[in-house]
Symmetry: C2
Subunit: 458 residues, 2 copies
């Protein structure tokens, strides 16, 4: 193994070293993720049914549990070259401040204008839509990262882009809309009066701050009721984890280059796009019995789908217009307290990650909001990057684990995903500085009422 | 020369290739920049006089017109490794969209939390202050980039940081303050009631939106009236251009690595920190007669110090508490229309660049605001980076020059400085989208009234 002093602060791959294919972790899973179900018949969704909502090529990727590697089309690889490879950073300064013997690395996905890893899948989904001759795509966005990413991808390819943005984020992040507008997207706060499902949700919950689940329902309705449009989604789906595997693949190539073997891999988890992408190739090794890693999902205590949810079939959206997915869920009606990690406010979790968690291949922890912002500020000051609240969940646990190493003397190698930047999260930072941050955590009784509303699928 | 298809989208240097010394372009200038004058005696400022305001090591750098290379202290080089090298990007997508035979490169300095190149000098100045055993530093900030950069550097080193922020930027960029607060800085909108000079300016110009010149006066007063504090400045000074030479040095190493020789080097110019840093090593070759380059400064038409100012001794600040510098100036009382490139709203220009411009080693153009934002949006959509309004001045001219090449068929190699990102400039983008952008340009008569107020120095 290379010595510490040979490892640079940032490892950048050469263009020639960048992955040419995505890795499909499903191919190595003995227990495949459960299929999506048709909400009417409760039978597995067929390719034909799915292609009313999604592009054909993406349907193929969604249903393919067997092909281990999927070639990345050249046009997508060219787009990746504009902002990738992302650096794998050795957190020398953080290690020093913590006084830990642990070695900490983070894969930083924030060095692009969308501010996060979301662009990796946005360009892929927009590319396939364009290739199919579509006019445009619709989507939802929580923190605004996915919507920004999609608007960038659509501007690049000349596609229409309609974004339903969770109302609480729309209000907390007034400038996100302006970035999307710079890229030519049409942005609507959700729930809205634009769609039937939006009107229904507003009538039932006047004054709601919205949720990803609501916004998904609206975007899907918009797509299926307009000729030449399809719906695209920034997380949860199998196809998204496939595209996001580029994060993990780059990370692994960079680590291998320097002979580094991580002990622990940590990622924040909302719908699972970043975590799933980051861990994929490592999880593949673990599934094939070639290596072992301690893989940790970190979620907000206010929206604890893995740590406190149930593993069951549930709707992906609040409006119940989408297929059902088997996943760890808090119930599709669950609307979390308005925390400031909009990208993690989703009631469910990727079916792939849910299955892997269920089968014991990874563990999960939940962290309260204030502790997350303490970690964010500490990290910003020593590592010079203002992290997104979402990403800061992983920072919190990475710091906690590094401090444990300080006590035990273990020289663990910790890798975590730093998914994005917090430039659009300064309302949240302000609340933190002003001591006005809310650490609300749902009670067991509250959760029970949501669980009771889960659809009955035997 | 390497073939186009061998040149990656982004050229990153290895850590081992990063510059170990800054380059001092003054060493190669036959006509040295004119010295700073004591505002009382009109005699050149001595090191002793300057060290009441600036740290000792920085005074030395400020006055040193002869040493060509100044070693970068290891601690600064370590800090640089956290966010440098910055990529030199080949603008393949922009070239394609323009249909130009020109080859366009940009040195992108925005991939750090301050959002610009300002961090290069901030860490250097903070380091020398710390080394001298000071408690803290005071400064001004226009767009907020310098203030953010300085607060990051101070947080890293554990120094106090007081920032006077031009009022128009403070109001247009509410979140900038929050970032600086995350890094522990104290931010005051300028002009303020905190200082004597601030109170004087407010009395004379009630309702003023402020200017860099005012904010400098306040920061200097704050430093000299508080024990253990010194003033630091993000632009204009010789020392700043010295530190910023890291931009040009990295650019040159990256170009040399691929055998690329630029024909034209373009940078936006406010006080000159980015332009001076970017062009330094190229200018050195030009001064030594080893190579020729078309070097272009781009300034806002609303604040045209090089293109319409006079070359004369003037105060660096509005409050006239600072030394006088010989420079192209619009007069220290000039307050530009509230344009959205806060970092370019300075009445004067670096003495080094003024001398080089005066001696015919570079040229200057000015561009109106709306045209700049058109270029910004075009660039954002094809290159995937949301540029700062300041940087977009250079983009405008790079695009114009590339379009000229399209007409003439010339395959010029154009390098420009992309100094930063526009995440905190979305009020400006919104005005642009809403068609409410102001293109006010000062009249000749207006300028004459300012020129008439210049200090009399023979």
């Amino acid at each position: 193994m290379a010595q510490n002093n040979e490892i640079p602060y940032k490892i950048y791959l050469e263009e020639s070293e960048m992955p040419k294919a995505w890795y499909n972790v499903r191919a190595d899973m003995k227990n495949k993720p459960a299929p999506l179900l048709n909400p009417g018949t409760l039978q597995p969704m067929t390719a034909e049914e799915l292609s009313g909502v999604f592009c054909e090529e993406l349907v193929k990727q969604e249903l393919d549990n067997d092909t281990p590697f999927v070639e990345i089309p050249q046009e997508i690889r060219d787009f990746y070259k504009m902002y990738r490879p992302s650096p794998l950073v050795r957190a020398y300064c953080l290690e020093k401040q913590l006084g830990t013997p642990a070695k900490i690395y983070y894969k930083f996905e924030g060095n692009n204008t969308s501010g996060s890893h979301k662009l990796n899948s946005a360009i892929a989904q927009a590319y396939y839509a364009k290739n199919q001759g579509l006019k445009g795509v619709t989507t939802e966005t929580g923190a605004g990262q996915w919507g920004t990413a999609l608007s960038m991808a659509c501007a690049y390819l000349g596609l229409d882009c309609k974004v339903y943005m969770v109302k609480v984020s729309y209000e907390q992040k007034p400038f996100r809309r302006e970035v999307m507008r710079t890229y030519g997207a049409q942005v609507t706060p959700s729930p809205s009066e634009t769609t039937e499902v939006g009107r229904r949700i507003l009538a039932a919950h006047p004054g709601t701050t919205g949720s990803l689940g609501c916004a998904i329902s609206e975007a899907v309705e918009d797509a299926v009721t307009h000729e030449g449009y399809r719906y695209v989604l920034g997380s949860v789906l199998n196809q998204v984890l496939l595209h996001q595997s580029v994060i993990g693949l780059e990370t692994k190539i960079a680590l291998d280059k320097y002979g580094i073997k991580p002990d622990m891999i940590i990622g924040c988890a909302g719908g699972g796009s970043n975590l799933g992408g980051l861990i994929s190739p490592f999880m593949g090794e673990k599934l094939r019995g070639e290596a072992d890693y301690d893989i940790v999902a970190v979620e907000p205590a206010s929206c604890p789908s893995l740590t406190r949810g149930v593993y069951a079939y549930d709707f992906c959206d609040t409006g119940m217009v989408c297929p059902l997915a088997k996943m760890y869920t808090l119930g599709s009606n669950f609307i979390p307290a308005p925390n400031h990690a909009g990208g993690l406010r989703y009631h469910g979790m990727s079916s792939i990650l849910s299955q892997l968690y269920h089968d014991g291949y990874m563990r999960a922890v939940s962290v309260p909001q204030t502790a997350v912002f303490e970690a964010a500020e500490q990290f910003a000051r020593v590592e010079g990057i203002l992290p997104a609240p979402e990403s800061s969940h992983a920072i919190r646990v990475a710091i906690d684990e590094a401090l444990k190493c300080k006590e035990t003397g273990e020289e663990k190698t910790i890798v975590f995903g730093l998914t994005g930047t917090g430039y659009f999260d300064l309302v949240a930072y302000q609340k933190f500085h002003d001591g006005q941050m809310d650490d609300y955590i749902p009670t067991d009784d509250e959760l029970k009422t949501y669980f009771a509303q889960l659809p009955k699928v035997e």
